[in-house]
Amino acid sequence: MECKQAVSFMHDYLDGDLPSEQARELQSHLDACPECRSAFRSLEETEMMLFAANRKTESVALSEDATDRIMSFLPQPKKHSPVWN
Protein backbone atom coordinates (compact mmCIF):
# COMPACT_ATOMS: atom_id res chain seq x y z
CA MET A 1 0.00 0.00 0.00
CA GLU A 2 1.21 3.49 -0.75
CA CYS A 3 1.50 6.00 2.08
CA LYS A 4 -1.08 8.25 0.43
CA GLN A 5 -3.63 5.47 0.46
CA ALA A 6 -2.70 4.68 4.06
CA VAL A 7 -3.42 8.27 5.13
CA SER A 8 -6.81 8.14 3.48
CA PHE A 9 -7.54 4.87 5.30
CA MET A 10 -6.45 6.43 8.59
CA HIS A 11 -9.08 9.12 8.25
CA ASP A 12 -11.76 6.62 7.31
CA TYR A 13 -10.74 4.62 10.35
CA LEU A 14 -11.12 7.65 12.60
CA ASP A 15 -14.52 8.31 11.04
CA GLY A 16 -15.50 4.79 12.05
CA ASP A 17 -15.93 3.90 8.40
CA LEU A 18 -13.07 1.61 7.47
CA PRO A 19 -14.14 -1.91 6.53
CA SER A 20 -12.22 -4.56 8.48
CA GLU A 21 -10.40 -5.88 5.44
CA GLN A 22 -8.93 -2.44 4.72
CA ALA A 23 -8.22 -2.00 8.41
CA ARG A 24 -6.02 -5.08 8.24
CA GLU A 25 -4.23 -3.70 5.18
CA LEU A 26 -3.69 -0.45 7.02
CA GLN A 27 -2.37 -2.31 10.03
CA SER A 28 0.22 -4.19 7.99
CA HIS A 29 1.29 -0.96 6.32
CA LEU A 30 1.69 0.69 9.71
CA ASP A 31 3.76 -2.25 10.91
CA ALA A 32 6.11 -1.68 8.02
CA CYS A 33 6.20 2.12 7.77
CA PRO A 34 7.46 4.15 10.77
CA GLU A 35 6.44 7.47 9.20
CA CYS A 36 2.84 6.45 8.75
CA ARG A 37 2.88 4.94 12.21
CA SER A 38 3.87 8.24 13.69
CA ALA A 39 1.40 10.16 11.52
CA PHE A 40 -1.35 7.82 12.66
CA ARG A 41 -0.42 8.25 16.31
CA SER A 42 -0.55 12.00 16.03
CA LEU A 43 -3.85 11.89 14.14
CA GLU A 44 -5.32 9.74 16.88
CA GLU A 45 -4.04 12.17 19.48
CA THR A 46 -5.55 15.08 17.59
CA GLU A 47 -8.85 13.25 17.42
CA MET A 48 -8.79 12.61 21.16
CA MET A 49 -7.87 16.19 21.94
CA LEU A 50 -10.68 17.44 19.73
CA PHE A 51 -13.29 15.39 21.50
CA ALA A 52 -11.74 16.09 24.90
CA ALA A 53 -11.94 19.82 24.24
CA ASN A 54 -15.65 19.48 24.43
CA ARG A 55 -15.80 17.43 27.60
CA LYS A 56 -15.53 20.34 29.97
CA THR A 57 -18.39 22.75 30.19
CA GLU A 58 -17.87 25.85 28.18
CA SER A 59 -16.64 28.82 30.17
CA VAL A 60 -19.06 31.10 28.41
CA ALA A 61 -22.77 30.64 28.70
CA LEU A 62 -25.97 32.49 28.05
CA SER A 63 -27.37 34.31 31.04
CA GLU A 64 -30.05 32.71 33.18
CA ASP A 65 -32.82 34.87 31.81
CA ALA A 66 -31.94 34.17 28.17
CA THR A 67 -35.18 32.33 27.44
CA ASP A 68 -37.28 35.21 28.73
CA ARG A 69 -35.24 37.68 26.74
CA ILE A 70 -35.53 35.66 23.56
CA MET A 71 -39.29 35.29 24.07
CA SER A 72 -39.68 39.03 24.65
CA PHE A 73 -38.13 39.76 21.26
CA LEU A 74 -40.56 37.57 19.33
CA PRO A 75 -43.42 39.21 17.50
CA GLN A 76 -46.78 39.05 19.22
CA PRO A 77 -48.41 35.66 18.81
CA LYS A 78 -50.68 35.31 15.87
CA LYS A 79 -52.86 32.36 15.08
CA HIS A 80 -51.04 30.04 12.73
CA SER A 81 -53.00 27.45 10.91
CA PRO A 82 -51.07 24.24 11.11
CA VAL A 83 -50.38 22.75 7.73
CA TRP A 84 -50.07 19.31 9.20
CA ASN A 85 -51.86 17.55 11.98
Binding site: D15, A53, N54, K56, T67, R69, I70, L74
Partner: protein, 189 residues
Amino acid sequence: MDNLETRLVKLALKGDQRAFAEIVDLYKDRIFHLAYRMLSNRHEAEDVVQETFLRVYRNLDRYDPGQKFSTWIYRIGTNLSIDRLRKRKPTYSLDAEIGDQDGADGYALIPGDNRTPETEYMISETRTTIHEAIDGLPPKYKTVMILRYLQELSLQEISEVLDMPVTTIKTRVHRGREFLRKKLESPQR
Protein backbone atom coordinates in the same frame (compact mmCIF):
# COMPACT_ATOMS: atom_id res chain seq x y z
CA MET B 1 -36.53 12.77 21.54
CA ASP B 2 -37.86 14.21 18.35
CA ASN B 3 -41.42 13.48 19.33
CA LEU B 4 -41.14 16.05 22.07
CA GLU B 5 -40.04 18.74 19.64
CA THR B 6 -42.77 17.82 17.20
CA ARG B 7 -45.38 18.11 19.93
CA LEU B 8 -43.98 21.43 21.06
CA VAL B 9 -44.00 22.75 17.51
CA LYS B 10 -47.65 21.76 17.12
CA LEU B 11 -48.57 23.54 20.34
CA ALA B 12 -46.55 26.61 19.42
CA LEU B 13 -48.29 26.74 16.05
CA LYS B 14 -51.57 26.91 17.89
CA GLY B 15 -50.27 29.96 19.70
CA ASP B 16 -48.96 28.34 22.88
CA GLN B 17 -46.09 30.62 23.91
CA ARG B 18 -45.00 28.31 26.70
CA ALA B 19 -44.42 25.54 24.21
CA PHE B 20 -42.18 27.81 22.18
CA ALA B 21 -40.32 28.82 25.35
CA GLU B 22 -39.67 25.10 25.91
CA ILE B 23 -38.12 24.87 22.46
CA VAL B 24 -35.95 27.87 23.29
CA ASP B 25 -34.89 26.21 26.53
CA LEU B 26 -33.97 23.00 24.76
CA TYR B 27 -31.78 24.59 22.11
CA LYS B 28 -30.54 27.97 23.26
CA ASP B 29 -27.27 26.75 24.77
CA ARG B 30 -26.42 24.49 21.87
CA ILE B 31 -27.01 27.25 19.36
CA PHE B 32 -25.08 29.70 21.51
CA HIS B 33 -22.04 27.44 21.76
CA LEU B 34 -22.16 26.73 18.07
CA ALA B 35 -22.30 30.44 17.24
CA TYR B 36 -19.73 31.34 19.85
CA ARG B 37 -17.26 28.83 18.45
CA MET B 38 -17.88 30.08 14.95
CA LEU B 39 -17.63 33.75 15.77
CA SER B 40 -15.46 33.92 18.91
CA ASN B 41 -17.55 36.80 20.04
CA ARG B 42 -20.08 36.62 22.78
CA HIS B 43 -22.19 39.52 21.67
CA GLU B 44 -22.48 38.30 18.10
CA ALA B 45 -23.21 34.79 19.30
CA GLU B 46 -26.08 36.09 21.42
CA ASP B 47 -27.42 37.94 18.39
CA VAL B 48 -27.28 34.73 16.37
CA VAL B 49 -29.24 32.91 19.08
CA GLN B 50 -31.87 35.63 19.02
CA GLU B 51 -32.10 35.64 15.23
CA THR B 52 -32.21 31.85 15.09
CA PHE B 53 -35.25 31.67 17.35
CA LEU B 54 -36.91 34.55 15.56
CA ARG B 55 -36.52 32.66 12.30
CA VAL B 56 -37.69 29.42 13.81
CA TYR B 57 -40.71 31.22 15.19
CA ARG B 58 -41.59 32.89 11.92
CA ASN B 59 -41.11 29.74 9.89
CA LEU B 60 -42.58 27.24 12.28
CA ASP B 61 -45.38 26.42 9.88
CA ARG B 62 -42.75 25.43 7.33
CA TYR B 63 -41.03 22.94 9.60
CA ASP B 64 -41.32 19.49 8.11
CA PRO B 65 -41.92 17.01 10.94
CA GLY B 66 -40.39 14.33 8.73
CA GLN B 67 -37.05 16.02 9.36
CA LYS B 68 -35.25 16.08 12.68
CA PHE B 69 -35.96 19.32 14.47
CA SER B 70 -32.34 19.55 15.63
CA THR B 71 -31.12 19.39 12.02
CA TRP B 72 -33.48 22.16 11.05
CA ILE B 73 -32.50 24.51 13.85
CA TYR B 74 -28.79 23.74 13.49
CA ARG B 75 -29.06 24.61 9.85
CA ILE B 76 -30.59 27.97 10.66
CA GLY B 77 -28.03 28.72 13.38
CA THR B 78 -25.11 27.58 11.22
CA ASN B 79 -26.21 29.63 8.24
CA LEU B 80 -26.67 32.75 10.34
CA SER B 81 -23.18 32.27 11.82
CA ILE B 82 -21.64 31.72 8.39
CA ASP B 83 -23.38 34.84 7.07
CA ARG B 84 -21.78 36.86 9.82
CA LEU B 85 -18.37 35.38 9.21
CA ARG B 86 -18.68 36.22 5.54
CA LYS B 87 -19.63 39.79 6.24
CA ARG B 88 -16.72 40.14 8.56
CA LYS B 89 -13.94 39.07 6.24
CA PRO B 90 -13.15 39.64 2.61
CA THR B 91 -13.80 36.50 0.61
CA TYR B 92 -10.82 34.50 -0.42
CA SER B 93 -10.15 31.14 -1.91
CA LEU B 94 -10.57 28.77 0.98
CA ASP B 95 -8.65 25.90 -0.53
CA ALA B 96 -5.69 28.10 -1.27
CA GLU B 97 -5.67 29.32 2.30
CA ILE B 98 -5.45 26.03 4.10
CA GLY B 99 -2.17 25.69 5.90
CA ASP B 100 -1.71 29.43 5.86
CA GLN B 101 -4.02 30.54 8.59
CA ASP B 102 -2.72 31.41 11.98
CA GLY B 103 -5.88 32.30 13.77
CA ALA B 104 -4.76 35.84 14.40
CA ASP B 105 -7.94 37.40 13.13
CA GLY B 106 -8.55 39.81 15.92
CA TYR B 107 -10.74 37.80 18.19
CA ALA B 108 -10.35 37.90 21.92
CA LEU B 109 -10.88 34.79 23.97
CA ILE B 110 -13.20 35.47 26.80
CA PRO B 111 -11.50 34.53 30.04
CA GLY B 112 -13.15 31.69 31.91
CA ASP B 113 -13.73 31.90 35.62
CA ASN B 114 -10.47 32.72 37.27
CA ARG B 115 -10.54 30.17 40.03
CA THR B 116 -9.48 27.27 37.80
CA PRO B 117 -7.75 24.71 40.07
CA GLU B 118 -4.14 24.00 39.21
CA THR B 119 -4.90 20.42 38.31
CA GLU B 120 -7.20 21.62 35.58
CA TYR B 121 -4.77 24.11 34.23
CA MET B 122 -3.25 21.80 31.68
CA ILE B 123 -6.62 20.61 30.45
CA SER B 124 -7.89 24.10 30.09
CA GLU B 125 -4.77 25.21 28.31
CA THR B 126 -5.06 22.33 25.87
CA ARG B 127 -8.65 23.25 25.30
CA THR B 128 -7.72 26.83 24.57
CA THR B 129 -5.06 25.66 22.13
CA ILE B 130 -7.61 23.50 20.35
CA HIS B 131 -10.20 26.23 20.18
CA GLU B 132 -7.59 28.60 18.82
CA ALA B 133 -6.54 26.05 16.25
CA ILE B 134 -10.17 25.58 15.17
CA ASP B 135 -10.58 29.34 15.02
CA GLY B 136 -7.69 29.51 12.60
CA LEU B 137 -9.37 27.23 10.08
CA PRO B 138 -10.86 28.68 6.92
CA PRO B 139 -14.64 28.98 7.42
CA LYS B 140 -15.77 25.99 5.40
CA TYR B 141 -13.52 23.67 7.38
CA LYS B 142 -14.20 25.45 10.63
CA THR B 143 -17.95 24.94 10.30
CA VAL B 144 -17.58 21.23 9.71
CA MET B 145 -15.06 20.74 12.53
CA ILE B 146 -17.21 22.62 15.02
CA LEU B 147 -20.27 20.60 14.11
CA ARG B 148 -18.28 17.38 14.29
CA TYR B 149 -16.23 17.86 17.44
CA LEU B 150 -17.86 20.57 19.49
CA GLN B 151 -21.46 19.67 18.69
CA GLU B 152 -20.65 16.01 18.14
CA LEU B 153 -22.88 15.59 15.12
CA SER B 154 -22.32 12.56 12.89
CA LEU B 155 -21.02 12.99 9.34
CA GLN B 156 -24.52 12.19 8.11
CA GLU B 157 -26.10 14.81 10.36
CA ILE B 158 -23.58 17.44 9.26
CA SER B 159 -24.37 16.63 5.66
CA GLU B 160 -28.06 17.26 6.40
CA VAL B 161 -27.41 20.48 8.31
CA LEU B 162 -25.20 21.92 5.59
CA ASP B 163 -27.17 20.32 2.77
CA MET B 164 -24.03 18.88 1.20
CA PRO B 165 -23.06 15.34 0.21
CA VAL B 166 -21.51 13.19 2.95
CA THR B 167 -18.45 12.72 0.73
CA THR B 168 -17.83 16.48 0.81
CA ILE B 169 -18.20 16.54 4.57
CA LYS B 170 -15.74 13.67 4.89
CA THR B 171 -13.17 15.40 2.75
CA ARG B 172 -13.49 18.50 4.87
CA VAL B 173 -13.19 16.59 8.12
CA HIS B 174 -10.08 14.85 6.75
CA ARG B 175 -8.46 18.06 5.65
CA GLY B 176 -9.49 19.86 8.81
CA ARG B 177 -8.04 17.07 10.90
CA GLU B 178 -4.73 17.17 9.02
CA PHE B 179 -4.59 20.90 9.43
CA LEU B 180 -5.24 20.68 13.16
CA ARG B 181 -2.75 17.87 13.57
CA LYS B 182 0.00 20.03 12.12
CA LYS B 183 -1.15 22.97 14.13
CA LEU B 184 -1.31 21.10 17.41
CA GLU B 185 2.05 19.42 16.81
CA SER B 186 3.95 22.64 16.28
CA PRO B 187 2.57 25.41 18.44
CA GLN B 188 5.41 27.73 17.45
CA ARG B 189 4.73 29.11 14.03
